[in-house]
């Protein structure tokens, strides 16, 4: 499973990276001779959009924003949510109650609304999109880590580690964290897949990237209005890519959670 997922994601990464050399046309400008909203043909294998821009070139280029946004947001969430959950839950008491209160307050709002609000404050751009998605997802990481730590820290092997003289940070890093990791990986894959979709959503309302940067999310939302006139190819190919990317991340996560948990092996 991991292999299939890695192959899909890597293929998309390589495809995006090589786009400047492989794309047959300019993904941001239409040549005056190009037909508008042309169906797939030999010259334009994925058709053209409402401005006559080649959809194949846009599809080849369009993964860059999504990949950057999702990767950045997952890294951000990981770096903030996991340590916060670990320390807060392990320490317990007032610190834990305080942090949980703040996190729950964020969690109370619908994710997309917060992402929109944060993105609106920060303005468009890749890093700002990643930040706004991170704000939505940090509570998920925190809560999963916190609840797992709460149960794991009571287990006999943690007690046994303390009884054998282990330092508190060794207990956290060697006994608790590795046993929480499989759950975090699952959240991370949902995060990855969701980040792709949220990025598309943010672009839809104009808080993502601008038209001169090719992006599947932009094409998807823009092409929607031409679907009724039968121009399916404008949204089909970017949509397919988004689904494939999300699927790839999910497969990696599923596989990893099995690899990281030795009990599920064989």
């Amino acid at each position: 499973m991991v292999i299939v997922g890695i192959v899909i994601v890597l293929a998309i990464v390589i495809m995006t990276a090589l786009a400047p050399w492989t794309a047959p046309h300019d993904p941001t400008k239409a040549e005056s001779s190009n037909p508008i909203r042309a169906p797939p043909s030999f010259q334009f294998p994925m058709g053209t959009n409402h401005l006559g821009i080649d959809m194949l070139s846009r599809t080849l280029f369009g993964g860059s924003v999504m990949l950057q946004v999702s990767a950045l947001s997952v890294i951000l969430c990981f770096l903030v949510g996991v340590p916060l959950g670990l320390f807060s839950s392990y320490a317990g008491g007032l610190l834990d109650s305080g942090v949980s209160l703040v996190i729950d307050a964020v969690y109370a709002f619908p994710g997309l609304i917060i992402a929109i609000a944060v993105a609106a404050v920060l303005g468009p751009g890749v890093i700002n999109m990643a930040l706004s998605i991170a704000v939505v997802y940090i509570p998920s990481y925190f809560r999963i880590v916190r609840s797992q730590v709460l149960s794991i820290k009571e287990l006999t092997y943690v007690e046994a580690a303390k009884a054998s003289g282990a330092k508190w940070y060794t207990v956290l890093s060697d006994y608790i964290l590795p046993n929480v990791l499989p759950s975090i990986v699952i959240v991370a894959t949902i995060n990855f897949a969701d980040a792709v979709l949220t990025a598309a959503g943010l672009t839809f309302i104009g808080l993502g990237v601008t038209y001169d940067i090719p992006d599947w999310g932009w094409d998807l939302t823009n092409g929607r209005q031409y679907l009724s006139s039968g121009a399916w190819w404008i949204i089909f190919f970017p949509g397919l890519m988004i689904i494939l990317l999300a699927l790839g991340f999910t497969l990696i996560g599923e596989g990893l959670s099995e690899l990281l948990n030795p009990k599920l092996q064989r």
């Binding site: 006999t156 009884a163 060794t170």
Partner: protein, 328 residues
């Protein structure tokens, strides 16, 4: 000057402060343990024997609080130690074997890494190769193939895991092993093997042992001295031989009569009527009086004192307090 004993516990009390009230899990317990000695802690569930064991390495679970008393290891009070000093005692001087072998090993760590972690904690200069060699020797002693050092805990049976736990406990050659119901989760045959193994290793390295069990027969067989616990109190303390031949406390007498005996097949097994007291609201006076056939009026009013009836045989019962010498 008298020699300092390995472990000296003076009037130790441990309370659990719950929202519904305070539970005196261990109430005024004192005893000493010399190097190489084997002490058994016997008692029903909830009698405070595990709490007593855990308090020796100051790991009483929340909301437990060690209220009063002293716990001295080599004359140094564990309760006054700093975190670092305490950690140097845990595992190195006093090792703990927990009841549940299935959950006592970290599921994501290979067996060898458990040894690496433990030995490196106490001897940071030891290199990995050295540790692995030591671990392989220990595994051989335990009767586990040394090749299995790279296996994960879930690849071992319960009995093997408990052997590994014992191996981890003796790895640093501690002075005292506290084994908290080490064989309760295992079947009888494995139980005997594990206890034999523990005894052999203990003898080889001259370690002291505190064996905690609800099974008085195991403790009688394996220990030199026995503490019988009831509702947090030490109700009787004697050598195994003396406790077996002449038990004094009615609770001990009844416990002994509830052990099945192969030779006396027609002997009726006697159960102790009633159940252990609710520790949130223990009976006034002697905690055993509601279940005691010989209880008198005095038992209901006041807790009996601990007296020495001779030969360092201590008992907490009014029917014997005149014959003995008051302790403390």
């Amino acid at each position: 000057m008298t020699k300092t004993p390995l472990l000296e516990i003076n009037s130790l009390s441990v309370d659990y402060r719950t929202s519904r009230g305070t539970v005196h899990a261990v109430d005024d317990v004192s005893f000493t343990l010399e190097k190489g000695e084997k002490l058994g802690l016997a008692g029903e569930s909830g009698s405070g024997k595990s709490t007593l064991g855990l308090s020796i390495i100051r790991l009483v679970p929340y909301p437990g609080v060690i209220g009063r008393g002293q716990i001295k290891v080599d004359g140094k009070d564990v309760l006054k130690m700093h975190e670092d000093e305490l950690r140097s005692i845990r595992g190195r001087r006093v090792a703990y074997v927990f009841q549940d072998p299935m959950m006592s090993l970290n599921p994501v760590k290979r067996i060898g890494d458990h040894f690496v972690e433990l030995l490196r904690t106490h001897e940071p200069t030891m290199d990995r190769k050295h540790v692995m060699e030591r671990a392989e020797t220990i595994l051989k002693d335990l009767g586990i193939q040394p090749e299995r050092i790279d296996d994960y805990p879930h690849q071992f049976s319960g009995g093997m895991r408990q052997r590994i736990m014992i191996g981890l406990a003796i790895a640093l050659n501690p002075d005292l092993i506290i084994a908290d119901e080490p064989t309760t989760a295992l079947d009888v045959i494995v139980q005997a093997k594990i206890l034999d193994l523990l005894e052999n290793l203990r003898k080889t390295y001259n370690m002291a042992l505190i064996l905690i069990s609800h099974d008085l027969s195991i403790i009688l067989e394996r220990c030199d001295k026995i503490i019988v616990m009831y509702a947090g109190h030490m109700v009787e303390y004697a050598s195994s031989a003396e406790l077996y031949s002449s038990p004094i406390h009615p609770y001990t007498q009844k416990l002994l009569r509830s052990i099945p005996n192969i030779e006396l097949s027609d002997q009726k097994l006697l159960a102790i009527p009633g159940s252990p007291p609710n520790m949130l609201n223990p009976p006034k006076g002697c905690p055993f009086w509601p279940r005691c056939a010989d209880s008198e009026e005095a038992c209901k009013r006041k807790a009996p004192p601990l007296v020495d009836v001779g030969n360092n045989h201590l008992v907490r019962c009014f029917r014997h307090d005149e014959k003995g010498v008051l302790v403390e």
